[in-house]
């Protein structure tokens, strides 16, 4: 049966990959909680991953909030539910669009950069050099990035949520003719703590996934410039897909009972 052989082959390769990523994640978590911890490098990566991603996340969420107000207004006016626009904007932003859009943008920006940097260090033997200089590459390279992703993504998403709601407000008040006081009141009236919290939990999960996949693919890259390019692509694609999958899983954990 020549049809089934390749299918089985792909399935086995996939299982092996899942196993390797899981072992990599386990080692990372193990090194996260045992000394030495390079706080200086964690702060450096927080600046790199968090602070420098602010413009990208701000632009994305601003326009997402704006278009959301516009779209939900034109949709909801069909059954005279225009007053729900503010609520729809804030709940969509905090639960879904804030974390997912920020996650995908950061995956493209940071995941690729991590994979390229660590991949280049791998192929130029810099990672081997770390080992010969009595420094664990997991602690020195992987842990600072993963911790920074885990910590800064929720902060980024919180800022993104606020900017997204602001975008909806700007369109709602200036373009769609809402009263500014009632728009703000509607924004907060039906908003629950869990809406925001679930979004921030998602952000932390995405931050872990992005940095872990970037590190994993970079760490295991081989074969010169082409290998590093491949690692970069794989890091972005795999983290984007995992973001969307884990997004569903976290949503289900939070909102179905």
């Amino acid at each position: 049966m020549p049809i089934f052989a390749p299918v089985g082959q792909i399935f086995l390769t996939f299982l092996a990959l899942v196993g390797r990523v899981t072992v990599f994640a386990g080692r990372t978590i193990g090194h996260m909680v045992t000394p030495p911890i390079y706080f200086r490098l964690i702060f450096k990566q927080m600046r790199e991953i968090g602070y420098f991603s602010l413009p990208v996340v701000a632009m994305t969420t601003l326009f997402a909030g704006m278009v959301l107000a516009l779209q939900s207004y034109s949709g909801f006016s069909r059954f005279s539910a225009e007053s729900a626009v503010a609520t729809v904007v804030v709940i969509s932003m905090t639960r879904e669009l804030g974390p997912v859009l920020a996650g995908l943008m950061v995956a493209g920006r940071v995941g690729a950069a991590i994979a390229a940097e660590i991949g280049t260090m791998r192929v130029t033997e810099q990672i081997d050099a770390l080992v010969t200089l009595s420094t664990n590459p997991f602690k020195y390279l992987v842990v600072p990035r993963v911790v920074a992703g885990l910590v800064t993504l929720p902060v980024l998403v919180l800022i993104g949520d606020i900017i997204g709601v602001l975008g909806g407000y700007l369109v709602g008040v200036n373009k769609l003719g809402f009263n500014d006081g009632s728009y703000i009141r509607n924004t907060f009236q039906y908003l629950e703590q869990l809406d925001v919290i679930s979004g921030l939990v998602k952000a932390a999960v995405f931050g872990f996934i992005i940095t872990l996949m970037g590190c994993y693919h970079g760490y295991h890259s081989r074969g010169g410039a082409q290998g590093v390019g491949q690692a970069t692509t794989n890091a972005v694609v795999s983290s984007s897909i995992l973001i969307l999958i884990s997004n569903y899983i976290v949503t289900e954990l939070f909102f179905t009972r």
């Binding site: 940097e117 260090m121 130029t124 033997e125 810099q126 081997d128 050099a129 770390l130 080992v131 010969t132 200089l133 009595s134 420094t135 020195y140």
Partner: protein
């Protein structure tokens, strides 16, 4: 050999999938001795070195450093071994995110916990040892020439005053004169430290200059091992072909036709 070997490889095997790279390597390096492993491209010289460093795990056989078997050593024993080794990589492998002096001081700061201010002074002294002025200390490794990068790599390898030094193709990729400078520096540094050294190279001029003893690796085994003074007179057709650099001879080249 009367005194116990610093590094000792016994029957080391390593394969990557179906490709058997090492098929029973036996080699000893005595304390203070400098051994060069020579051999053609792809004969497993780098793999041998990486097995000793613990970057690769051999499939079979034992590698002892100071009497401790590294193939089943604890992490602490491994760390202790790495703490007394230094390595110069083929492409220097300098950290491009750090400046030159931070590269040289890396092992002192991260490995030994030395204060950066003190480590900087040591780094500048080591840079002087390899003929580089303090003006390069704050430069980025990427802005240095290949020969300078190699010398910075050498300064980094000797900064922690290791007992064992590894050199991976120290003269590859640089001009012959700079290659000779590097060879002289390697000899000088190893002597001053009294370190044992293991060099892998296919450059015979370099091997003659650096090594006390030469071992030739071919088809995964050491096929000749003797003092550097005997490489021209030894009765081994494989060695003679390699030393002379002839196409004709018993060495099976990885060429289909020429």
């Amino acid at each position: 050999m009367s005194n116990p070997a610093k590094i000792s490889l016994r029957n080391v095997h390593k394969a990557f999938g179906p490709k058997k790279v090492l098929q029973g390597v036996d080699l000893d390096v005595a304390p203070g001795e400098s051994v060069a492993i020579i051999g053609g491209s792809g004969t497993g010289k780098s793999v041998t070195l990486k097995c000793v460093l613990g970057l690769l795990t051999p499939d079979q056989g034992s590698i002892t450093v100071d009497g401790i078997d590294m193939t089943d050593a604890s992490q602490a024993e491994r760390d202790a071994m790495l703490a007394k080794t230094g390595m110069l990589f083929q492409g220097a492998a300098l950290f491009d995110s750090l400046s030159v002096w931070e590269n040289v001081a890396f092992g002192l700061i991260e490995g030994r916990g030395m204060k950066p201010r003190d480590a900087r002074d040591v780094a500048i002294a080591r840079l002087e040892d390899v003929g580089l002025g303090s003006d390069v200390a704050n430069m980025s490794p990427a802005s240095l020439s290949g020969g300078m990068q190699k010398r910075v790599g050498l300064a980094r390898a000797i900064a922690t005053e290791p007992e064992i030094l590894f050199f991976d193709e120290p003269t590859t990729g640089i001009d012959p004169i700079m290659g000779d400078v590097i060879n002289d520096l390697i000899v000088k540094c190893t002597r001053e430290l009294g370190a044992s050294a293991m060099t892998i190279t296919h450059d015979m001029a370099s091997a003659r200059k650096i090594a006390d003893r030469v071992a030739m690796l071919y088809q995964g085994k050491i096929i000749w091992d003797g003092p550097v003074s005997e490489i021209d007179t030894a009765d081994n057709p494989y060695l003679q072909q390699f030393v002379a650099g002839d196409i004709e001879g018993p060495l099976e080249l990885d060429l289909k036709h020429l």
